[in-house]
């Protein structure tokens, strides 16, 4: 009988994936993990039906139904599929996947091995970015714990790549794992059919696999006890910027963002707004934050926003969304793989123009060009990098449209001096 997982008292911040020993104890060893949650059940076709009933969808950012991905890989598999744990987490503001891999690695590995068994895979790869040198030791130790006659499982192999924003995009990941650079590629085939070395491939975000490990143990009804009808369960979020206790939180889907901010100790100053969902996400003005539903479908339908990979980056009171959005845009332009004309030309032109607007020194026609180019680059790349980048910019222009006129009429904006919002990192210089 599996150990009951404690449910939170108030329906705000959950404790499923992040329950167990405190993080100060390091990663949870395999024995402790199995004592707490029970042994991993076997993976089989029945699990796919169970995932479908659970309503689990991908936590990498796209919220694609997990069971549909699995069914597609299983259909193509012929016993030679590849399962990839996507732990690359190229989003500079996100640390949820690394948190899971560093403290609850066996939850993630359970999910990957369940997938391998259910889909008839011969290889399980953990895809990591080379962000923190030497910081992967606990992950390597956790993998080593699973090797031995007591556990007849497929071995988990680590492959690392340069830390780039789009290195974790499914086709970039496939390209890298097939021996190329971690740049997206154009293909007429789905990754499920032809992925790594042209083999059927499941690419699944680390957190999604951790949820799979729980659903396999406790069932779909249990999973649905939290969350909404359309987006069941809990999800990991990374809070940063203007919050008192930044970090990774496990949140019940559907709760208002105000409750999540409360759990993080509140904000230092009344927020001017926030970026939801990461660098491909959407800006929301400060007044809307408290009531914002943490639920991908409601965000999409009511706010034209996306939950993405669960980032909430809160602007301080003196921060400016136009300034921060432009910084992010410039970073994303530099992070383009430079393979597609609309992305290279469009993002560079937009960044250059927005930098003038951001500095309150626009030239005539600048904002008209920006609006036109936003429409022009959408849906024209091999991947969604340009779409995400311009979506982020468009949402800032909309959320802060009253303040935008200060920039357009050359009035000084003090937001350039604000310190409370995390700056984008320097762009990478390698692709392997």
């Amino acid at each position: 009988m599996p150990v009951a997982v404690s449910e939170p008292a108030g329906p705000a911040v959950g404790h499923r994936l992040l329950s167990g020993p405190p993080f100060t104890a390091g990663y949870e060893r395999i024995d402790d993990h199995e004592r707490r949650l029970g042994p991993r059940p076997p993976g089989n076709a029945e699990l796919i039906g169970r995932l479908e009933r659970s309503g689990l969808s991908g936590r990498g950012g796209a919220w694609f139904p997990t069971s549909r991905k699995w069914a597609a890989v299983r259909q193509a598999s012929q016993g030679r599929a590849v399962v990839v744990i996507n732990g690359s987490e190229g989003e500079p503001l996100s640390s949820k996947d690394r948190t899971l891999l560093l403290y609850r690695p066996h939850l993630v590995f359970d999910g990957a091995l369940l997938a391998a068994e259910a889909l008839g895979a011969t290889d399980v790869i953990l895809y990591l970015s080379r962000a923190q040198r030497g910081a992967d030791r606990p992950i390597e130790q956790a993998i080593a714990e699973r090797v031995g006659p007591a556990r007849p499982e497929l071995p988990i192999r680590i492959v690392k790549t340069a830390h780039r924003y789009i290195a974790g995009e499914a086709t970039a990941l496939v390209n890298r794992l097939s021996g190329g650079p971690s740049k997206p590629r154009f293909s007429l085939y789905r990754t499920a059919e032809r992925g790594v070395d042209d083999r059927p491939t499941l690419v699944q975000n680390a957190e999604t696999l951790a949820h799979v490990a729980m659903i396999a143990r406790y069932g779909s009804d249990w999973f649905r006890k939290l969350g909404t009808q359309g987006a069941p369960g809990s999800t990991l979020m990374t809070l940063c910027g203007n919050v008192r206790r930044p970090g990774v939180y496990e949140v019940n889907l559907g709760v208002p963002l105000g409750k999540v901010l409360q759990a993080a100790g509140g904000t230092f100053t009344p927020p001017a707004g926030a970026l939801i969902g990461g660098y491909f996400g959407s800006w929301v003005p400060g007044a809307a934050l408290a009531g914002l539903p943490v639920e991908p479908n409601l965000l999409r339908d009511q706010y034209h926003a996306a939950l993405g990979c669960g980032i909430v980056a809160v602007l301080p009171q003196d921060g400016c969304g136009i300034v921060e959005s432009t910084r992010i845009l410039s970073y994303l332009a530099a992070e383009s793989a430079a393979q597609c004309g609309p992305c290279v030309n469009g993002l560079n032109a937009l960044a250059e123009t927005m930098e003038r607007v951001s500095a309150s020194q626009p030239k005539p026609g600048d904002i008209e060009n920006v609006v036109r180019w936003i429409g022009m680059v959408r849906n024209r790349g091999a991947c969604h990098h340009p779409d995400g980048a311009v979506g982020q910019l468009a949402s800032a222009l909309e959320a802060f449209r009253d303040h935008l006129s200060d920039h357009l009429y050359g009035r000084r904006c003090r937001g350039t001096e604000s310190q409370g919002f995390p700056s984008p990192p320097l762009p990478g210089d390698r692709w392997r």
Partner: protein, 74 residues
């Protein structure tokens, strides 16, 4: 019965020569930087199909494709 077809550009292959937009302006226009904006809806007109085929054959980068019009899924 012939399958409906649609034009598609491989944006990683395209270098913006722009010949395609000259040949089949019905389906392809150029953006501010000379790269093609392709109408990827199914083509119904036989004459336009002929032009689309010529545009595909003329592309020096072999970046233009005429595909069966079924939606690609995730």
């Amino acid at each position: 019965m012939s399958q409906a077809r649609k034009l598609l550009v491989n944006p990683t292959q395209c270098d913006g020569y722009g010949f395609c937009a000259e040949i089949v302006p019905e389906l392809i226009t150029l953006d501010d930087w000379g790269f093609p904006i392709v109408d990827s809806r199914p083509i119904s007109d036989d004459g336009v199909i002929g032009l689309a085929k010529r545009a595909v054959a003329t592309c020096p980068r072999l970046a233009l494709l005429l595909e069966e019009a079924e939606p690609k899924q995730a």
